[in-house]
Amino acid sequence: MTLTAQGVSMAFGGLLALDDVSLTVPERRVVGLIGPNGAGKTTLFNCLTGLYAPTSGLVLLNGRPLPPDPAEAARGGIARTFQNIRLFPELSALDNVLVGRHTRIRQGLLAALLRGPGFRRSEAEAVERARAELAFVGLDPAGRAPAGSLAYGDQRRLEIARALAGDPSVLMLDEPTAGMNATETAAVRELIAAIRERGIAVVVIEHDTKFIFSLCDHVHVLVRGRLLVDGPPEAVRADARVIEAYLGAA
């Protein structure tokens, strides 16, 4: 499963937020997306997850155009987290993850009403899987606590567990370490590495360039809506234009 953007542009009114951006997310790779504030990172994210339909250009999942509908994108195997944590705060952690499993459960309304053996089996499997994802990200597998009552770092991890529960082929993380201390950040780095080991491609937006360079297989630098540089982390880090863009922005 590869996710590609081909010449994606996105305009809001007269403002061109993305200008002819192309990138490829290969299988089993961690791709980083960095750039100064307002560079269009989140806009690109929203195009890649079906939330926005690009003004021009194509987003392809396995060579097929991605429908401009987040629900369809999720069904296609694209899962995401949000820059400002957006859990379902009153649902339990387990139920949050079960919602993430939505696309992989087949039991509909009638099955739920009748509660036959097929339904029970499917529900038990879903719960088991959800507990496994909770354990995978390092949370209590019972997951009884309401999501809103968890500590900040745990909420971030719960978002990742929720995204993983839908068996994605591409996981999109929007600033997964925002507001975390060094220890927590290191834990997230390990978590992302483990996700890659599971065969899932990961796209990460971050401000923390050190985090990106130490983690990613491939880094894209977005400045004012345009793709400035891309390549392996060592090359990007050494690129004069990137240094200038960051120093210029700072």
């Binding site: 997850t49 939330l51 509908d69 987040p70 629900a71 994108a73 999720a74 069904r75 995401r80 949000f82 957006r86 859990l87 379902f88 705060p89 009153e90 649902l91 139920d95 079960l98 919602v99 993430g100 939505h102 696309t103 459960i105 039991q107 509909g108 309304l109 099955a111 739920a112 009403l113 509660r115 339904f119 529900e123 879903a126 009884r144 929720r162 839908g166």
Partner: protein, 523 residues
């Protein structure tokens, strides 16, 4: 109720040490502090209440008495006060018992004052109650270990029998009308105070949490026993034709409120015209009543309401939040106007549709008595089954892919979409399911009343249903039933306040949103 928590390991140790500590505290200084309050309550209970002999009938429970005329023969609310006064000596019971005393004493004192009689016992009991509430401690309830099977069944059976007694006693408290008991309103409200205190005491000792955990674990058994208990209601004091009719009316609204709870409580879609679904079910069944047997008419009513639900739900594809509430209000008003003007000759307009025959199955008309059981029992049984079915629908859907999708949409629609939920489809499904339940209830409603008119489906009915859902707790399984029971029993009991009914509902909506947005049941 939603928690599947079944007692943790700390719960095993907790009560034992706590019990030992509280055994000590009975003798401590703190426990002595509760004594004056309790004594005041007892003194108040045993004092005469009405200072004069009232015109239009003696005050209930021998309360119009000279001092200490029959202190050993207290009954009714005075007995309740005595019981609560004694219960207040238990450390955790002081607060809830005091609250109950306050309600009972306040209600009777106020009613007596309105009748022009000064109450002696009232102020004393009020002071005692206030003292108890003030001095009682608020502690987390202890958690009890869940017992083995040998204890479970009798415990649950006893609990449901207790519930049956409480329901029956609440229904019959204060008699059935002002004609037979001029003080019925006061007696009813005071009994509610006693019931609240009882539940509060049980809750303070963790008994309610223990029972609901038990019931959750032994779900099938609990449902069976609960249904059995409900069917035994006709054998209690509430077993008259009148109470059966009241109970089945409540059942109709409860089933409708459960449907609304799916739409509002689970999917988070505020529907301000919901009673239209009850209405279309009722009108459909009424029009078919003379031509097809009841099950067919009921099915037709449910289908018609479900279709209307899809129509009303369709705008959810484009309209969000507050605007959706206004759209549903507009649909409700359109339905009401159409029914008022006898659209297509289907509603009878101002004349209503009269003469709807009672449901008849196997040659038995539902409005006739069966054997020794009172008339109206069959309608009662039918509505009990209907409410149980609606509760099962709500509970089953809540813990399923569909229900989780609804809850997700309710919390954050954009994120629900990002999780792969087809939100439009899910929302229309919520309207479909909720409306179908209401339509089914409407069919029963039509047959039971024998006549259906547009005025049963005006905006205030939608508000009442919404208030029932909110009062009971949005999204909870028993919530809508509790809320509907309260909101439809209270007007029946308090006819002298019927003019204030809607005013109090409005006030209740404001206060609940402010103080307890999750409703009464969720505590």
């Amino acid at each position: 109720m939603t928690s599947t928590d079944t007692g943790s390991t700390t719960g095993v140790r907790g009560p034992v040490t706590r019990a030992r500590r509280s055994a000590r505290s009975v003798l401590s200084v703190r426990s002595v502090r509760r004594v004056p309050g309790a004594v005041l309550v007892l003194a108040g209970a045993l004092s005469p209440w009405a200072s004069v002999v009232l015109p239009g009938g003696a005050y209930p429970d021998l309360a119009t008495l000279h001092l200490f005329d029959a202190p050993h023969l207290v009954t009714g609310f005075r007995l309740h006060l005595v019981l609560l006064g004694l219960a207040a000596l238990l450390p955790r019971a002081a607060r809830p018992a005091g609250a109950g005393v306050l309600i009972i004493a306040f209600v009777h004192t106020a009613f007596l004052a309105a009748l022009g009689a000064v109450s002696f016992g009232g102020p004393v009991a009020l002071a005692g109650g206030a003292l108890l509430v003030w001095q009682g401690r608020r502690e987390p309830a202890p958690r009890w270990p869940l017992p083995g099977r040998a204890v479970v069944w009798p415990a649950l059976a006893a609990a449901f029998a207790g519930l049956l007694w409480l329901v029956s006693a609440t229904l019959t408290a204060g008699g059935q009308s002002r004609a037979t008991n001029p003080h019925g309103g006061a007696e009813f409200l005071a009994f509610l105070g006693f019931a609240v205190a009882l539940l509060g005491i049980l809750s303070a000792y963790g008994v309610l949490a223990w029972l609901s955990a038990l019931a959750e674990r032994h779900r099938t058994f609990s449902v069976a026993v609960l249904l059995g208990c409900a069917m035994l209601l006709p054998l209690t004091g509430a077993g008259t034709g009148y109470w059966m009719t009241v109970a089945s009316t409540i059942g109709v609204y409860a089933a409708t409120a459960i449907g609304l709870n799916i739409v509002v409580g689970l999917a988070g879609l505020l529907d301000l015209g919901y009673v239209a679904f009850l209405g279309i079910g009722a009108f459909t069944a009424a029009n078919l009543a003379h031509t097809v047997p009841f099950p067919v008419a009921a099915l037709a009513g449910a289908v018609a309401a479900g279709l209307l639900g899809v129509v009303v739900g369709a705008p959810t594809l484009r309209v969000r939040g507050d605007y959706l509430a206004i759209v549903t209000l507009a649909f409700g008003e359109i339905f009401f106007r159409a029914a008022q003007n006898d659209l297509g000759g289907l509603t009878g307009g101002a004349n209503s549709i009269p003469g709807i025959p009672p449901i008849t199955l196997f040659g038995q008309a539902f409005d006739r008595p069966v054997g020794a059981l009172p008339a109206g029992f069959l309608y009662y049984a039918l509505t009990v089954l209907m409410v149980a079915g609606a509760m099962a629908v709500l509970a089953n859907l809540k813990h399923s892919r569909t229900g989780r999708a609804w809850l997700a949409i309710s919390a954050d629609e954009d994120v629900a979409r990002a999780m792969g939920v087809h939100t439009g489809r899910a929302k229309i499904l919520a309207f479909l399911v909720g409306a179908t339940l209401a339509g089914l209830a409407g069919a029963v409603f039509a047959h039971k009343l024998g006549t259906v008119g547009y005025e049963s489906f005006d905006f205030s009915e939608s508000v009442t249903l919404l208030a029932a859902v909110i009062l009971g707790g949005m999204g909870t399984v028993p919530g809508a039933v509790v809320g509907a029971s309260l909101l439809f029993v209270l007007p029946e009991k308090l006819r002298e306040f019927s003019d204030y009914r809607l005013m109090l509902f409005g006030l209740a909506l404001i206060l609940i949103m402010r103080l307890r947005p999750k409703g009464l049941v969720s505590s």
